[in-house]
Symmetry: none
Subunit: 150 residues, 2 copies
DNA sequence: TAAAATACCATGATATACCATAATTAATGT
DNA sequence: ACATTAATTATGGTATATCATGGTATTTTA
């Protein structure tokens, strides 16, 4: 999954990248989106992944624990299923768009089993930050034979 | 899933969100509501879940404890079935509305297998509280696959 | 029989599904 | 390797269906 940039129209409609659609179709599941907890972006995944997470929460905490209550509220309260129409678009809600500061353009970033949707400028900054972070943590690579320029 | 905000009229009528109705219809079951034990809100679920809930209470608290009896009594004493009319509305009782401090607007908050109905302002505060709380406890979450920092 | 609760009807708003065109990517042949 | 064609994908616009909500009629019950 690479990063693709798509337009968002006045109604919040965006084309879900074809690659993503293919996966969703194959699993014949549905997309779920929610506000990321860690960044100003929308996060999405396939529905069953969310259910697994819920199951994990239920198993890892006491049924009546405050934490479990909080987590289920946060996750299921925020998340929503998004079905795409015959042309492959979903309509993002105002809440999600605001959280990600998206107006007319959005960047889809693959993240393994999930993906994120960013405001292009914010993503550019974030990507730069990540690059810097990686370089700092792995100075070894710069001298080695493997990841170099050649 | 999701949070939707609906109006409550003078008679206590509220539209049960369409998604919820779809589920109830599919399971051809009915909605049960009761005063939440942990927060100033109304809690609801599909009828058969309430029985499972009772079982979970028995498992998660000491079998001989008074607490368990109290919990089951509280919930079952309070719970009531709510059928929705042809337009998809239920009428909430005065008791429930007062407990949740709801007058003319209500927020439905998805909670996985259950849902909650809140006074909008109270929910806003609660959501803020939860987000803050979760951020504090973040390390625990990072082991999961969906919703972590990454 | 009066009051309350419930079921039904009608309308406006909103969101969804569909169609048509533009742009991009992939494929083909020269 | 390039140009041309074909196929897929993205986007703008419009029609349709669904949903929420105010109001009214009918049933229940006290």
């Amino acid at each position: 999954m690479d990063t693709v940039i798509n337009k968002v129209d006045a109604k919040g409609r965006v084309s879900l990248p074809a690659d993503y659609r293919a996966i969703v179709k194959e699993l014949n599941s549905e997309i779920v989106c929610y506000r990321s907890l860690s960044a100003p972006c929308i996060e999405g995944c396939v529905e069953d992944l969310l259910e697994k997470l819920a199951a994990e929460i239920e198993n890892s905490t006491d049924f009546f624990s405050q934490t479990q209550d909080d987590l289920t509220n946060l996750i299921f309260g925020d998340a929503r299923r998004f079905t795409f129409d015959s042309t492959g678009r979903i309509v993002l809600t105002e809440k999600l768009l605001q959280h990600a500061e998206i107006t007319d353009t959005a960047v889809f970033v693959g993240k393994g089993r999930k993906f994120q949707i960013w405001n292009p400028q914010n993503w550019a900054k974030e990507e730069a930050r990540i690059r810097a972070e990686v370089m700092k943590k792995r100075p070894v690579l710069n001298t080695g034979k493997c990841g170099g320029t050649n």
